[in-house]
């Protein structure tokens, strides 16, 4: 099982690195949308600081939606998804490996980038570690949710907009706890509570999510 997990993981990583241009798209989207806010709202640092964490969270949410909504589509089209399903590998394990691979190559760069963007929104340096840590804890859950959306819409010719519709309402707790952690950090209070809650959600999503995703994929390839 471990062998199969790493086989799927390394395969997807390899493919991702051979298509680097596609990797960069969600990242560019993230940067561009985030830089639209100072243009649209106000370049005033005071103002930017108050909306900064919220803006970055929402944009990170949308970028990961963009990055992962087609997670299973290529595999379904070339038939490797049905081969994976027929193989002795439990589908949940394969799903987890795929989500892990895409989290590593698309979401982690995003998390690395966020503190820099946060600085441009005049957020104090002190909250940057909290922000990065909160994002690291929240994005696995987010990836599982988007992967679920991708799996649910696999049978449709186009996923796109509807994946957002399915996934975004479910991400409300992540957004709430994530921005809460940063707000508490800004006031210099303990940020442990929301971070623990984000970690709890990640455990829940990573343990139950792959089962739901595997079930959805079964319907999708039929």
């Amino acid at each position: 099982m471990k062998r199969a997990f790493f086989a799927v993981l390394t395969r997807d990583l390899k493919i991702a690195f051979r298509r680097v241009s596609e990797l960069a798209n969600p990242l560019l989207f993230f940067i561009i949308v985030a830089s639209l806010f100072p243009l649209a709202v106000s370049p005033d640092p005071e103002h930017l600081r108050s909306i900064g964490s919220g803006v970055l969270w929402v944009v990170a949410l949308l970028s990961s939606l963009l990055a992962l909504e087609g997670l299973f589509r290529a595999d379904a089209e070339d038939g490797s998804l049905e081969q994976l399903m027929l193989s002795p590998v439990p589908m949940g394990v394969a799903v987890l490996a795929k989500v892990a691979a895409h989290w590593l190559v698309t979401i982690v760069p995003l998390v690395v980038l966020t503190p820099m963007l946060a600085l441009s929104f005049s957020l104090p340096v002190g909250v940057l570690p909290v922000m990065a840590f909160a994002l690291l804890l929240a994005t696995p859950t987010l990836s599982v949710l988007v992967a679920l959306g991708a799996a649910l819409t696999l049978g449709l010719r186009r996923g796109g907009a509807i994946v957002g519709l399915l996934v975004l309402p479910l991400t409300a707790p992540l957004l709430i706890f994530g921005t809460r952690a940063i707000d508490l950090g800004l006031y210099g209070e303990s940020t442990a509570a929301p971070l623990y809650l984000l970690a709890a959600l990640a455990v829940l999503a990573l343990s139950l999510g792959p089962i739901a995703i595997a079930a959805a994929l079964r319907v999708g390839v039929e």
């Binding site: 493919i15 298509r19 081969q83 027929l86 002795p88 590998v89 394969a94």
Partner: protein, 199 residues
């Protein structure tokens, strides 16, 4: 080993076929023939456990195919219309991946058998349709699968490729495996005393 009980498949409000019952014992070949749209592919997907029939059920070793244990599931090899190759990986890498998830060993001699040894380091994207089809056949052999389910295995293959498929099938049957093959050229397989299922 493989059996179908009273299987019926409906597409929307239309019945493709119904009341299909058959059993396969080790070393036996079943040929699935019928015009386009008769439900050959649908039936094969049901037998492989990828889809569920409208009525009836398919069993492998007495277990419904959509509820197989991982070990039993690993005994069934299915080759459909899609070749299941990642286009951004080389033929060799695809072979290694198959071996890793099916629990077999990546034997590069298989590529020689398929006359693909020169393409081992070529990405699947740059293969011709026929070469891709051959590369897909590798997965039948990376791990021993007692049951082969093949959907039009001869498509896009040249004389040589067809001969390989027949040779492999013969060896497979001689070793006690069984196979279900959907084909438009049943005469190619017929001399092997197959069970012919007409849809």
């Amino acid at each position: 080993m493989l059996s179908a009980e009273n299987v019926a498949i409906w597409r929307g409000d239309r019945c493709l076929f119904e009341g299909l019952t058959f059993g396969l014992h080790p070393g036996q070949l079943a040929l699935l023939v019928g015009p386009n749209g008769a439900g050959k592919t649908s039936l094969l997907r049901v037998l492989a456990g990828l889809a569920s029939p409208t009525f009836g059920r398919a069993l492998w070793h007495g277990v419904p195919v959509d509820a197989l244990t991982p070990e039993l599931r690993g005994q069934i090899a299915y080759r459909g219309h899609l070749d299941g190759l990642k286009k951004d990986l080389t033929v060799g890498e695809n072979l290694h991946f198959h071996a890793a998830i099916w629990g077999g060993s990546a034997d590069l001699a298989l590529l020689t058998d398929l006359k693909l040894e020169a393409q081992a380091d070529v990405r699947a994207r740059y293969l011709s349709a026929g070469q891709r089809r051959r590369a897909a056949l590798v997965s039948l052999r990376v791990a021993p699968s007692p049951l082969w389910i093949l959907d039009e295995p001869m498509t896009n293959l040249d004389v040589d490729g067809r001969a390989t498929v027949l040779r492999w099938t013969d060896q497979h049957l001689a070793n006690g495996g069984c196979a279900v093959v959907a084909t438009h050229q049943p005469q190619e397989f017929e001399r092997r005393g197959a069970l012919v299922i007409e849809l």
